[in-house]
Amino acid sequence: MNLDKKITDDLVANDISFVTTVPCKQLAGVIEEIDQHPDIFHIPSNKEDEGMGLCAGAWMGGKRPMIIMQNTAIGVTINTLATLTQYYRMPLPMLISYRGELREPVACQVEMAVHTKALLAQMNIPTYHFHNQSDVEELDMILKYTFMCNKPVAILTDANFWGGYGDQ
């Protein structure tokens, strides 16, 4: 299965047409796929809280937004999630690379990995963890759920889901 294409197809099927990204190595393929897709406006952000501001504006302007980022960005965006996305009750699917999990080669990534789920739980953010490739089958339902409940929703995607790192 081509995960990058499957994910992009699910976004388009759910009318998500405004996507902002800050890259992670694991997300390179899906970002490329989204960038090329004619039905999606891709706007790279310089920092993830900035991206959440763009998404809030796009939502109010009538588009369905999404942010794609690394789990380290949870440490950057707590205030924005609380005072913007949640306070004004806006939907925001967050496709997150879950670095620092099994098959991670970079030790420092583990330091935010151990806080990721606790922070999301503390924020009452519905959180899904994709560990096996077949977990991607739930993405369509998660996107529908997000725009039903008007909340930020986290989709954590770990190295095993993406197929590991090869020789890195």
Partner: protein, 184 residues
């Protein structure tokens, strides 16, 4: 002039425009001077008024004016390259540059010293950047609205705040009436 005096003067131009307003006293002043459904008061997320406004402008065709502050742009400097490289014709970022963190008691920011926000915006890729003095704000804003080229305005003014009531409107109502004003 201080920020509230500028806002009073440009209120007739802001009427019925889509506005995204900066955190703190700027929003309180705008709310007291001319509350309207097309005002989005950003109540708690310092730095993001420029990003929210850009998102609204990119998502639809009506003119959007973000009223931001020097301290807030400095805290989210990444916004300038994002605006410079994606500037839609219908977006105006108006930075009220009073050289201070006005809301928190007028502590100086670096724009009151050596830092030049207009030059930074130009260097970031913003094509239409104007720096104006407080008294010329209305004229420059009207020109930017008429031009429809996407403009960054840096408005140089004095530091100081008017005493206005806190906004007690529910955030979901602020959002809802703003979205309805966009759709109307």
């Amino acid at each position: 002039m201080i920020r509230s005096e500028i806002l009073k003067e440009i209120a007739p131009i802001l009427k019925d425009q889509l506005i995204v307003c900066n955190i703190g006293i700027p929003s309180q002043e705008l709310h007291a001077i001319m509350d309207q459904p097309s005002n989005f008061y950003m109540l708690g997320t310092m730095g993001l008024a420029s990003s929210i406004g850009l998102g609204v402008a990119l998502a639809q065709d009506k003119t959007v004016i973000s009223i931001d502050g020097d301290g807030s742009v400095l805290t989210n400097l990444g916004t300038l390259p994002t605006i410079g490289n994606n500037m839609p014709k219908n977006y105006i970022l108006m930075i009220i540059d009073n050289g201070s963190y006005g809301s928190t008691g007028d502590q100086p920011t670096y724009t009151g010293r050596k830092t030049d926000l207009a030059a930074m915006a130009r260097a970031a890729g913003c094509d239409n950047v104007v720096e104006v003095q407080d008294v010329d704000t209305g004229k420059a804003l009207q020109e930017a609205i008429d031009a429809q080229v996407g403009t960054v305005m840096v408005v140089k003014c004095d530091s100081g705040n008017a005493k206005m009531p806190v906004i007690t409107m529910d955030p979901v109502i602020i959002k809802d009436r703003f979205m309805k004003a966009i759709e109307a």
